[in-house]
Amino acid sequence: MTGPSPRLQVAAVFRKEVRQTVRDRRIMFMVVAAPMVQTLIFGFAVDFDVDKVPTEVVDLDRSAESREHARRLLADGTLLRSGESSSAEEASRKIDVGLAAAAVVMPRRLGSDLVARRPAEVQVILDGTDPNRASIAGAAASRYFGERGEELMRERLRAAGLREPGQVESVPRVAYNPRLKTAPYLVPGIAATLLVIVTTLVTAMGLSRERENGTMEQVLVTPIRPLWLLLGKLLPFLLIGLLDMGLLIGVGTWVFEVPLRGSLLVAGVGVALYLFSTLGVGLLISTVSQTQQQAFLGGFLFMLPAILLSGIMTPIRAMPDWLQAITYVNPVRHFAEVMRGVLLHGSGLEDLWFQLALLAFLGAAIMGLAVARFRTQIA
C-alpha cells in the first residue's frame, strides 16, 4: 500500500478550515468587518494634529491694538477663541473646569505702551494636563508675540534711520507628508496592528477550536504528517491576511489619501514575511491553549506590548535604551517601518532590506518554535 496522498490531505485540511472559518460568524466579523471599521475609526478619530485649542481671551486693555493682536493671534486656527474673561482669575477657573485649555491675558495699557515704545508683557496661561497640546499652544502664542516684537523693533530702527540687522530665515520643506496630516502616518501602523489581530488571534482560536471540540483526536488517528496539517490550517489565514492587507491599503489610499509611492512587490514581500511571524505566534499560542477563550487571551497578551513597542503610537527613540533594544525582536515594529517606507517614502528593497531581513529571521524563529511545539503535541 502506498502512502496517503499529501495533496489530498492538505486540500482536505485547507477546505475544512475555510469552511469552518467562513461559517463561524464571530471569526468572519473579526477578519473582515472589524479591520475595515477599525481602520476608519482610527483614521478619523486619532489625530495627532493639535489645533483649535480652546483659548480664553482676557483683554484688559480694550484698545484697538489689543483687539487687533487677539484677532491675529487666533487667525491661524491653532488657538480657538472659546470666550472672553474679565480677569486672569476668571480665565484660570474656566481652565480648571475644562472650558478652556489656554488663556491669553493682555494687560492694561498694552496699546499705549506699544505706541510709546515701552516694554509690554502678555501672559499665557496653559493647561498642562496634555503636555503636547500645552506645548503647541504655548509655542503658537510665543511665536506670534515674538514675531510682533521683532516687527516693532524693525519699525523703530527704520524710524530712527538705522539699518535693520541681518536675519536668518528658515524655510521648511516637508517631504512625504507636506500637509503634516496624521492619517498618512498612522494608517500604515494601524494596518500592522490589525493584521496582528486578524492573523494571530484568529489563527490561535481556529487551531484551538478542534482541541476544544474534542475533534483533535480524530485528526491524530489519521496518517497526515504534522507539516501538512499545519500547512492546510495556516494557508487560509495567510490568504485572509493578504486579502485584508489589500483592503486596508485600498481604504487607506482612497479614504485617507495615503500615498502609494513605493513598490507593491516590496510591500507584498513585507506582508508575507510579517504574516509568517504573526501566524507563527498564533500557532504558538494555540499549542498552550485548551480553549478558544484561552487562545484569545493569549493573543491579546501578545498583542498589547507588541503594539506599544512598535513605534506606531509613540516614537521608539523616546523609549529608554533597554526598551529600544527589545523592539528589535518585535515584528510589528519592522513591518510598520516597511509599510511607511513603501507607502510614504517610496522606499525600495535597498532601503528596507534590514527590516525585511529581520522580519524573515523573526518569522523563521517564531514559526520554527511553534512548529516544534505543535509536533510534540501531536506526536
Partner: protein, 320 residues
C-alpha cells in the same frame, strides 16, 4: 541470480495477527496505566476487551491507534510498527472514540468527506451513500452536525472511522448511552463488517454486548491482561450454570455448609448464588439452607454469563 523477495510484514502471512502488542507499558507521570501487556488480535475476529473503569482499555487502544506513545514495548499493526510506520498503520486503523464530539460547522456529508481527505482518500459518492445508508444517516446527509441527536452523532463517529475502509476497527464503548433499537442495529452492522473481513476490537461495559458479539474476550485489570480466551471456552471453564436462592430474610453470614458448596452471599444478604458446571448442587444447596434454618423464597437457575465470569475475575475470587 535474482535478489530474494523482501520478507513480507508478518501480518501479511496468512493467519498472522493483525495487531501485535509486546510488553506494552504506558505511564502518565507516576501513574502506570498499562503495565506490560502482550496481546494479539487475529484477522477477521471480533475481540472484546473488558475491564473495570481505569483498567487501561482506552489507553491500550489509544496507543495502537496512534493517539498516545508507548513508554515501552512494541506495537505492530499488519506487521508494521505504529510509530515508525505510522503513515501506514493509521491508514489501516479506524477508531470510534468513547466521547461524543463533532465539528459544529460541518454537515454530515462534509464531516465524512473531510475525514476521508485526512486519510488521503477521495470518498466517492457510492461509498458515501453506502456508509450513510448502513448507519441510517442518509436522510441527514446535508444536516449540520449540531442538529443531530446523540445517537446520530455516535453513528456519524462510526462513519468517520470507516471512510477509509480500515482493516482494523476499534470501537471504544460504541453503544454507551444509545437506545436499545440503535444498539441492536449497531450490533448487526458490526457483524456485517466482520463478514466483510474487518477485524473488530470492542471495549464495552455492557457484558451482554460482548457476549453477543465477541469471538474472543480479553480482560484487563490494573493495566495487566488477566485472561484472553475464546468466549465459549471461557464460559465453559468458569462453569455452566448459576443457581440463585432468594431468602425470605437477609442474613449476615453465610452458613458453613453452604460455604462448603461454594455458595456466595450477595450484597444485601438476601440472595445466595452458586456457580457450577452442572445441576448437581441444587438439591444439596436447598437442603443445606433448610438445615441452617433459612427459608428460601425463590430459586432460579441460569446459564453462567460473561458478566458472572468477569465479576469473578476482576474481584480476585478466581485466578485466570
Amino acid at each position: 541470480m535474482t535478489a530474494p523477495e523482501p520478507a513480507l510484514p508478518s501480518a501479511e502471512v496468512p493467519g498472522a495477527p493483525v495487531v501485535e502488542v509486546r510488553g506494552l507499558v504506558k505511564r502518565f507521570g507516576d501513574l502506570t496505566a498499562v503495565a506490560g501487556v502482550d496481546l494479539e488480535i487475529r484477522r477477521g475476529e471480533i475481540f472484546a476487551l473488558l475491564g473495570p473503569n481505569g483498567a487501561g482499555k482506552t489507553t491500550l487502544i489509544s496507543v495502537v491507534a496512534g493517539l498516545l506513545r508507548a513508554t515501552a514495548g512494541e506495537v505492530r499493526v499488519l506487521g508494521r510498527d505504529v510509530v515508525r510506520d505510522y503513515r501506514h498503520t493509521r491508514r489501516s486503523v479506524g477508531l470510534v472514540p468513547q466521547e461524543l464530539n463533532f465539528d459544529p460547522f460541518l454537515t454530515v456529508e462534509e464531516a465524512l468527506r473531510f475525514q476521508a481527505g485526512y486519510f488521503g482518500v477521495r470518498l466517492g459518492e457510492e461509498r458515501l451513500v453506502e456508509i450513510l445508508t448502513a448507519l441510517d444517516l442518509i436522510a441527514k446527509r446535508h444536516t449540520n452536525s449540531r442538529a443531530l441527536s446523540g445517537g446520530m452523532k455516535r453513528r456519524l463517529l462510526i462513519g468517520k472511522a470507516l471512510v477509509h475502509e480500515p482493516k482494523v476497527l476499534f470501537l471504544d464503548e460504541p453503544t454507551a448511552g444509545v437506545d436499545v433499537e440503535l444498539r441492536r442495529s449497531l450490533w448487526a452492522y458490526v457483524r456485517e463488517l466482520r463478514s466483510r473481513g474487518t477485524t473488530i476490537v470492542l471495549t464495552t461495559h455492557y457484558l451482554d454486548e460482548a457476549e453477543e458479539l465477541a469471538d474472543r474476550v480479553g480482560v484487563i485489570d490494573g493495566g495487566r491482561i488477566v485472561v484472553v480466551e475464546e468466549k465459549e471456552a471461557l464460559l465453559r471453564r468458569y462453569g455452566g450454570r448459576t443457581f440463585r436462592l432468594a431468602l425470605e430474610a437477609p442474613i449476615a453470614e453465610l452458613p458453613p455448609a453452604l460455604a462448603a458448596l461454594g455458595a456466595r452471599l450477595e450484597p444485601g444478604g438476601a440472595e445466595l448464588s452458586i456457580e457450577t458446571s452442572g445441576s448437581a448442587l441444587l438439591g444439596p444447596a436447598l437442603r443445606a439452607a433448610e438445615e441452617a434454618g433459612l427459608t428460601v423464597r425463590d430459586a432460579e437457575t441460569r446459564r453462567t454469563t460473561l458478566e458472572d465470569v468477569f465479576v469473578r475475575l476482576v474481584s480476585g475470587r478466581e485466578p485466570a
